[in-house]
Amino acid sequence: MDLTTRIGPLTLKNPFIAASGCFGYGVEYADVVDLASLGALVVKGLFLAPREGHPPPRIVETPSGMLNAIGLQGVGVHRFVEEHLPVLRGRHAVTIVNICGSSVEEYAELARILSDAEGVAALELNISCPNIKAGGIQFGCSLVGTRDVVEAVRRATRLPIIPKLTPNVTDVASFARAAEEAGADAVSLVNTFLAMAIDVETRRPKLSNVMGGLSGPAIRPIAVRMVYECRQLVSIPIIGMGGIASAADAIEFMLAGANAVQVGTANFVDPFIWTRLVDGLRAYMARHDVARAADLVGAVDLGAGARR
């Protein structure tokens, strides 16, 4: 049974990737799970400089989901390279670094620094964080901005680059195509949905940042639809995510067109989810006589009467 999946030049041992912002810098989980057993892990979004992030409360639960407005608290790229990357390397983790800039130049500079560091498998371009004022989503909400960031990073590095797309646009597939045309090796989607929750007793927003990003099972059907739409328009690999909490959820994304998947919020609930996901995928493949996980990608059966 072949669980491997290819993301551009990368071959992952299985399609399960820990999502950025939900797995710290990976090192937090080094004593909890075998990092090398994951397809890959994506570390928390990094700017050049350290960032404090937003004041608490930073998360709030909503029906089958949660809002977060962490505000990209982070140690900055230099401390990551010096302190955390060697640990990840020592554990043989396939490390994808999520980078975020307030300018196109900052993305390119981050890409250059990380290209020189040993143990970085790929870069995920955060052009979709809904929680910060400057940087990130300002690029991800404009086709020109998306193209500019991807092209600048493409010129700065030979590492595989994976723009992470926001669902907070009218037509996410057009952004996937813009990324593909600009030289992206793959796209990942979706980041969180911009959302808000209010305490009716106090009339105060439940997050200090007022708005935050919605994740968890609540968003899964919308994310599946968006992956499906992107699959119709691009030929580069797609990494799907949004509320995946079981192997069946992951397979749903793969059938919609995802070559690999990321798991975020579910890791908070069950940090040992990874073996369950691999076992579940194997069981499904055995039951359905599928030899290669890659054969599931885009294999949704629309039937004769489907309109699309």
Partner: protein, 311 residues
């Protein structure tokens, strides 16, 4: 928290699941831990007993011997209160007691539950035989004071929760210990006999004066501070933020070491989500957000920035 120093009561638990690290090791040795000297375990724990203390409070006894064996005083567990996705996230609870069998082997843990929301209501209504996923032990534990120092434990309401295990550790060190315990009324001062059995002196206060001093717990605490002898005192506080802050201010004024156990909204309990942050002053004197799940829940009161701290 790379210098995390956890001194567990027992050696490494051999019942740990087989998800131990093997990457980068030679000769079968475990890789040096990054954060956790003991890998946290996720146990599908049956409810052995549930004891109702009042309309809002109950004690749940959970069949989690591996967690009980590995736990250090002041550590916590994350409990999943629903098998589905509502509520989605686990809830943090201090390990209240380590229950031992006739031979003294850790057999179970208890938690002190206060009904405040959906998740704690489920635990309030739990019945014997119900199962909950319990992840732990987690977090940085207390540093128990050793003689000749005395230990003064200051608890407010459900803030009693981390102190039973601490009192046990202090008793085994032979440390003279006092529990200052405050609540709204006498009916909400729970399980004081646990502490009396360990030889802990009690100083109680209730807001309505129904037991102990009338008023806040700072009433007997201030009296004790004024009368204290030459022995150094180490303070420990857990309860509402204003109470912990009041204790921390007195510790600073009297030049006493003070540890507080914080409870912030937590997403994961493992350092993955960055939601449970509190501000501490670093070496540069400037405040920085740190995660209370892995840099805490027990923190040095002197380093904490109290302004803006929730709860």
């Amino acid at each position: 928290m790379r210098n995390l120093s956890i001194q567990p009561k027992v050696g490494h638990d051999t019942r740990a699941p087989s998800i131990l690290l093997h990457a980068g090791t030679g000769g079968g040795h475990r890789t040096r831990p990054v954060y956790w000297p003991h890998m946290p375990l996720d146990v599908g724990a049956a409810v052995i007993a549930t004891t109702r203390l009042s309309g809002d409070y109950n004690i749940l006894t959970l069949d989690a011997p591996a967690i009980a064996a590995a736990a250090a005083p002041g550590q916590f567990v994350m409990i999943r209160t629903s098998a589905g996705s509502d509520p989605l996230l686990r809830r943090p609870f201090s390990i209240f007691e380590i229950v031992r069998d006739a031979r003294g082997t850790p057999a179970a843990i208890t938690i002190l539950n206060k009904r405040v929301g959906v998740g704690t209501s489920r635990l309030a209504c739990a019945r014997e035989g119900d199962r909950f996923d319990v992840l732990g032990p987690l977090g940085r534990p207390f540093t128990p004071a050793a003689p000749p120092a005395e230990a003064w434990l200051v608890a407010g309401g459900v803030g009693l929760a981390p102190f039973a295990t601490l009192a046990e550790a202090l008793a085994s060190l032979g440390t003279s210990t006092t529990l200052f315990y405050g609540a709204r009324r006498a009916g909400e001062l729970f399980r004081t006999e646990i502490f009396e059995r360990l030889g802990v002196r009690l100083a109680l206060a209730t807001e309505d004066g129904s037991r102990g001093d009338r008023g806040l717990i700072t009433v007997p605490l201030d009296r004790a501070l004024a009368a204290r002898g030459a022995a150094p005192v180490r303070l420990y506080a857990c309860g509402p933020t204003p109470m912990m802050r009041a204790v921390a201010e007195r510790a600073a004024a009297h030049g006493l070491a003070c540890e507080v156990s914080l409870e912030q909204t937590m997403g994961c309990g493992l350092g993955g989500c960055y939601s449970c942050v509190v501000r501490v002053r670093g070496a540069d004197g400037a405040p920085h957000y740190v995660r209370s799940c892995i840099n805490g829940p027990v923190m040095d009161a002197a380093s904490l920035v109290w302004e803006g701290l929730g709860h």
